[in-house]
C-alpha cells in the first residue's frame, strides 16, 4: 500500500460517458438499417404492385363546362396561389394528344364515378378512357350492355381466333372514335367491378406484366424478355465462374507454395473485387467483343462481314465479363472455406493411403462445397444487379429475338439480350412519357429484387441441404 496515493485508485474506475450508452447505439444502428430496408421494400411493394390495381375512373366537369374522364393520380399545392392542383391520367393520346391533365381543384364543378366508364389497354397507342357505344362485326351490331358483354367474351378468346370487329367508342367530352378489336389488349370497367373482380383483374395484369414483352417504347407492357435475359445471363455467368474460381482457390490454398508471391497474388485477387464494374465493362468490350469476337468473325463468319456476329455485344460476352467481375468473390469465399477445413481431416485421409488428389476430391472439396456455394451466392447477388458493364458488352433496349428459341442451335450466345436492370434505367430515363413509366419502374425494381432473392435463396437452400447431409459445420 505504501507509495500508492489513495486517491488514484477510484479515479481510474470513473465511468466513461459511453458506458451504458453503447448497447443502445448499436441497437439504434440495427434499427435504422432495418427501418431503411423496410421502407425500401414497402415503397417498391406498394408502388410496384399498386400500379396493377384497377383504379377508379372519374368523370370531371369543369366550371368552364368542359368534361373529361380520367384517373386521379396525385395532388400538389399550386405555386404562389391558394388551393391544390390535381393530376389526372386521361389516356386517349391518339384523340387528345396528351395523356395527363393538371386541374385546379377549385375549377372542378362536378365529379362523378359513372359505372359505364371503361378503360381499354391498346396496342398501338395506349389506354383509352371513355364509353363503349357499340360493337360491329360484319353485319351484326351490339349496343349498350350487350356490347360490353360481347367485348369481354371476345377478349376471352385467343388473339388468333378473335373475329374482325369494330368498336364504336365515345370519349367523356363527346368525341366519337372507331377502334378495331385487333388493337385492344384488355378492357375494364373499374367503377362497376366488385373487389373480387378487381383482384382477378389485378392478378391478370401482374401476370401479363411478367409474361409479355414490352410495348410503346418500354413505357408499357411486360418485362418477360428482360426477366429471361437476366436469369439466363446469371446462370451462364455462374456456370463459367464457379469452376474457374474453385480451381484457382484450390491452387492458391492447396498447391502453391505459401510464400511471398502467393500472398501478393491473394492480396491482388482481393483487391480486384473492388475495381469499379464499368472498368470490367471496358475490358470486356476491348478484349471479348472487339478482340476475341472480332477474330471469331474473321475466321468463321467472314461471309456476313461487315455486319458482326460475335464482334458485337452479346449474351456470351456479357456473361464472361460478369464472370470476370465476380471471380474474386468466388476465389476468396472458396479459399476461406478450404482454409477452415482442419488439417486433421487432410492428414486423416492421407494417413489412410489416399493420394493428394483423392484427399482433395473425397474429403476437402465435399467439405468446402458449402463455402463454394457461398461464393456463388455472393457472385450471383453481385452479377444480377450489375448494369454498367452490360451496357458496353451486350444488353439491348429492345432485343428483337430471345437468346433461346426453337431454331438450331437453340441457345444463341451471340444475340443481344434484355436485362431488368437496364430495362429499369431505360424505362425511367429514356421513355417519352416519364409519368407513365414511374409505376413500371417501381414494379421492375421490385421484380429485380425478387429475382436476386430467389436466385440467392436457391443457392442458400442448396448449401443448407449439403450441410445437413454431411452434418458438417463449415
Amino acid at each position: 500500500m505504501t507509495g500508492v496515493p489513495a486517491d488514484t485508485a477510484p479515479s481510474r474506475r470513473r465511468l466513461h460517458w459511453l458506458d451504458g450508452l453503447w448497447p443502445w447505439l448499436c441497437a439504434a444502428s440495427v434499427a435504422l438499417s432495418l427501418l431503411m430496408l423496410g421502407a425500401l421494400l414497402t415503397l417498391l411493394l406498394v408502388r410496384g404492385l399498386g400500379h396493377f390495381w384497377p383504379a377508379t375512373l372519374e368523370e370531371v366537369t369543369l366550371r368552364s363546362g368542359e368534361t373529361f374522364a380520367g384517373q386521379a393520380v396525385r395532388e400538389v399545392a399550386l405555386p404562389q396561389q391558394p388551393g391544390d392542383e390535381r393530376l389526372y391520367f386521361t389516356g386517349n393520346r391518339d384523340i387528345e394528344s396528351v395523356r395527363w391533365r393538371w386541374v385546379a381543384i377549385d375549377d372542378i364543378a362536378m365529379q362523378a364515378q359513372p359505372m359505364d366508364l371503361i378503360r381499354l389497354e391498346r396496342s398501338p397507342w395506349d389506354d383509352f378512357i371513355g364509353r363503349l357505344v357499340a360493337i360491329e362485326q360484319h353485319d351484326q351490331r351490339w349496343e349498350g350492355d350487350a356490347a360490353w358483354q360481347q367485348l369481354t367474351s371476345l377478349l376471352a378468346l385467343p388473339v388468333s381466333q378473335r373475329p374482325d370487329s369494330q368498336l364504336l367508342l365515345i370519349t367523356a367530352s363527346g368525341q366519337a372514335v372507331q377502334q378495331p378489336l385487333a388493337n385492344v389488349v384488355s378492357a375494364q370497367a373499374p367503377n362497376a367491378m366488385t373487389w373480387r373482380q378487381k383482384t382477378l383483374a389485378w392478378s391478370q395484369s401482374v401476370w401479363r406484366f411478367l409474361s409479355e414483352g414490352p410495348r410503346a417504347a418500354n413505357t408499357g407492357g411486360g418485362v418477360w424478355p428482360a426477366i429471361f435475359g437476366t436469369v439466363l445471363m446469371v446462370i451462364l455467368m455462374s456456370v463459367i465462374v464457379t469452376p474457374f474460381g474453385v480451381l484457382a482457390a484450390i491452387y492458391l490454398n492447396e498447391i502453391a507454395h505459401q510464400g511471398r508471391l502467393t500472398r501478393f497474388v491473394r492480396i491482388g485477387v482481393r483487391n480486384l473485387a473492388g475495381v469499379p464494374s464499368i472498368v470490367y465493362g471496358v475490358f470486356g468490350l476491348g478484349v471479348f467483343v472487339y478482340g476475341i469476337g472480332g477474330s471469331l468473325d474473321e475466321w468463321f463468319f467472314s461471309e456476313t462481314l461487315p455486319s458482326p456476329t460475335f464482334g458485337t455485344g452479346g449474351l456470351l460476352w456479357a456473361s464472361l465479363t460478369l464472370a470476370l467481375l465476380t471471380l474474386p468473390v468466388v476465389i476468396v469465399a472458396t479459399e476461406e472455406g478450404l482454409a477452415r477445413i482442419p488439417e486433421a481431416q487432410r492428414e486423416g485421409a492421407v494417413a489412410l493411403g489416399a493420394t493428394r488428389l483423392e484427399m482433395l476430391t473425397r474429403i476437402v472439396l465435399p467439405m468446402a462445397a458449402p463455402a463454394m456455394l457461398t461464393g456463388m451466392i455472393l457472385a450471383i447477388a453481385r452479377a444480377a444487379g450489375e448494369v454498367a458493364p452490360l451496357m458496353l458488352v451486350g444488353v439491348a433496349k429492345l432485343a428483337p429475338q430471345m437468346p433461346v428459341d426453337g431454331e438450331f442451335p437453340y441457345l444463341h450466345l451471340e444475340r443481344k439480350f434484355m436485362h431488368l436492370g437496364y430495362h429499369l434505367f431505360d424505362t425511367a430515363f429514356h421513355g417519352d412519357d416519364v409519368q407513365a413509366a414511374i409505376p413500371l419502374v417501381y414494379a421492375t425494381a421490385l421484380l429485380l429484387v425478387l429475382i436476386v432473392l430467389v436466385l440467392n435463396l436457391t443457392a442458400i437452400f442448396l448449401r443448407h441441404y449439403l450441410r445437413r447431409q454431411r452434418g458438417s459445420e463449415c
Partner: protein
C-alpha cells in the same frame, strides 16, 4: 507375461536391440529438420513386432515428429528435410521402389483429436477400403464389421451405421478412427496421444483396445501420460530435445532407469 525379445546393450548409447525375427521397424541414425531447425538428432532404435512401444518425453521433444516420420506424413511439408534410414520389415521406407500410399496403408496412424470424416460411420470405415480396390458389397460389409468389432465399437454403432460419424462421442469417434485404420489391415499402428482429448472412461477403453490389438499388429504410442505408458506399453523410449535418452523394457525404465535425466522426468522433476 511376454517373453523378453531383447538384449540389453550395456555400453553407451542406451539402445535396446532385437534380433531380426522380432524386429518390425528399425530407425537408423535418423535426423530431421523443419526449415533448417533440427527436430530429431541422430536417433537409432528398433521397434519389436506385436508389442506396444511407447515414446515419452516433454512437449517439443520430437516424439510426434518421429511418429509422423514413420509413415512419411512429413512428405506433405516441403520444409522438412531428413537424413538416416527408417527400415520397415527389411525395406527402407524412403527407397525408390516404395509406394508412399501403400506405405501409409501398411502404417496406419491415429491422431490426438478424433478426426472422423464428415460422412456416415459406415463410409468412414469404408473410406480406406474404397481407395484400395473395388470390393463386392458383402465382402466390404464383412470387413467393416470385423474392423468395428476389433475396435470394440460394433455393439454401440451396429444400429446406426449410416448416421453421421460426427454424432458419436469423442471416445467413440477415436475408436471409429482406429476401426477405419484397421479396416485396411495395416502392419503397424501409430497412435499420437490417442486418449489425450478423452474422458477417463473412454481413455480406459482405448488403453484396453491397445493391449488387445497387439496380437494383430505392432503398435507405437506417443503419450504425455506416464501412467498410460506404464499401463499399456511393453517398451518405452524417453526422448528429450530431439534425442533418444533411454530406451528399454517399460517396467525396467520406470522402476529402474539407468540415467538420472530419465528418473528426473518420470518422477516429475522436469529438467
Amino acid at each position: 507375461m511376454l517373453a523378453p525379445l531383447h538384449s540389453v546393450n550395456t555400453s553407451q548409447p542406451p539402445v535396446t536391440h532385437f534380433p531380426p525375427e522380432h524386429c518390425c521397424l528399425s530407425i537408423d541414425h535418423l535426423s530431421l529438420a523443419y526449415a533448417g531447425k533440427e527436430a530429431l538428432r541422430d536417433l537409432t532404435l528398433s521397434i519389436p513386432r506385436h508389442r506396444v512401444t511407447a515414446f515419452i518425453g516433454p512437449s517439443g521433444c520430437g516424439k510426434s515428429t518421429l511418429l509422423r516420420a514413420i509413415n512419411r506424413l512429413h512428405d506433405l511439408n516441403e520444409a522438412v528435410s531428413h537424413s538416416g534410414q527408417i527400415v520397415l520389415e527389411g525395406q527402407d521406407i524412403h527407397g525408390p521402389q516404395v509406394n508412399v500410399t501403400e506405405l501409409r496403408r501398411r502404417v496406419g496412424m491415429v491422431f490426438q483429436t478424433p478426426n472422423p470424416f464428415p460422412m456416415s460411420i459406415y463410409e468412414n470405415v469404408a473410406f480406406g477400403l474404397r481407395l484400395q480396390q473395388r470390393l463386392p458389397k458383402r465382402k466390404r460389409d464383412d470387413i467393416i464389421e470385423w474392423a468395428l468389432t476389433s475396435a470394440a465399437l460394433w455393439d454401440e454403432v451396429k444400429d446406426r451405421l449410416h448416421r453421421s460419424a460426427w454424432q458419436l462421442s469423442g471416445g467413440q469417434q477415436q475408436r471409429l478412427v482406429i476401426a477405419r485404420t484397421l479396416a485396411v489391415k495395416p502392419d503397424v499402428l501409430l497412435l499420437d496421444e490417442p486418449a489425450s482429448a478423452l474422458d477417463p472412461i473412454s481413455t480406459l477403453k482405448i488403453e484396453e483396445l491397445i493391449r488387445n490389438l497387439k496380437s494383430e499388429l505392432t503398435l507405437v504410442l506417443v503419450t504425455h501420460n506416464m501412467q498410460q505408458a506404464a499401463r499399456v506399453s511393453d517398451y518405452t523410449a524417453f526422448l528429450h530435445q530431439g534425442e533418444l535418452i533411454e530406451y528399454g523394457p517399460t517396467d525396467q525404465l520406470f522402476t529402474n532407469p539407468r540415467l538420472q535425466r530419465t528418473e528426473n522426468y518420470i518422477t516429475g522433476r522436469v529438467t
